[in-house]
């Protein structure tokens, strides 16, 4: 049983560019959450998707947007990249009302 997978593993972008990160949830999970983890910090909640809708959002600007597909996989899009967007982006999946979120290995984004 494959766990949560994310692609790509690493990514380098230039300021002002746009980026798309991808996440495939654990088999049978229907809810996907995205977190941003800056170096030396704990993960910060970006948003959560359930049934292809954004259900909850953290304190992130509109430059951060997402999507969930009918197969429950998800994308995180970031527009107009800033140096401060450099971070590890974690995806976590779960059943709708379960307590546990299973995390993927993350995508390391570097903005130069």
């Amino acid at each position: 049983d494959a766990g949560v997978t994310q692609s790509p593993t690493h990514l380098i972008k230039t300021r002002g560019q746009q980026v798309t990160l991808r996440c495939s949830p654990k088999s049978g999970h229907d809810t996907v959450s995205w977190y941003q983890q800056a170096l030396g910090q704990g993960p910060q909640f970006i948003f959560q998707y359930y049934e292809e809708e954004e259900r909850q959002r953290g304190n992130f600007p509109d430059r951060f947007s997402g999507h969930q597909f009918p197969n429950y996989s998800s994308e995180l899009n970031v527009n107009a990249l800033l140096l401060g967007d450099s971070a590890l982006y974690l995806c976590a999946s779960s059943y709708e009302y379960s307590y546990e979120q299973y995390f993927g290995p993350g995508t390391r984004l570097t903005v130069t």
Binding site: T31, S33, Y35, G40, Q41, G42, P43, Q44, F45, Q48, R55, Q56, G58, L88, L90, A92, S94, E96, Y97, S98, Y99, E100, Q101, Y102, F103, G104, P105, G106, R108
Partner: protein, 117 residues
């Protein structure tokens, strides 16, 4: 807003010894979950142990146990018989009970645990 505080940026322990990592949190909710996650250098966040706030009994998972003090809003993790593989970042996390609109995890800033030979 809920906050989670980990006041120990780094801790070290001798192999086979016991270490306790501290966590405090702030919330106005009465029902919630608390978690300890481990993040090794591979970056994948792994759930170590969870505690439901309505349960008075402290959770235990093999060598890992918690000391949950609800009134003091304290949630510490004790690792017994420490092993080299326990070396990692440990994050304390909080969430309210899952609902239609609120099930995010709120994390602390982490404690880096070193295990010495």
């Amino acid at each position: 807003a809920q906050t989670v505080t980990q006041s120990q940026p780094e801790m070290s322990v001798q192999e086979a010894e016991t270490v306790t990592l501290s966590c405090t949190y702030d919330t106005s909710e009465s029902d919630y979950y608390l978690f300890w996650y481990k993040q090794p250098p591979s970056r994948q966040m792994i759930l170590v142990i969870r505690q439901e706030a309505y349960k008075q009994q402290n959770a235990t998972e093999n060598r890992f146990s918690v000391n949950f003090q609800k009134a003091a809003k304290s949630f510490s993790l004790k690792i017994s018989d420490s092993q080299l593989g326990d070396a990692a970042m440990y994050f304390c996390a909080y969430r309210i009970l899952p609902s239609d609109t609120a099930s995010k995890l709120t994390f602390g800033t982490g404690t880096r645990l070193q295990v010495m030979l």
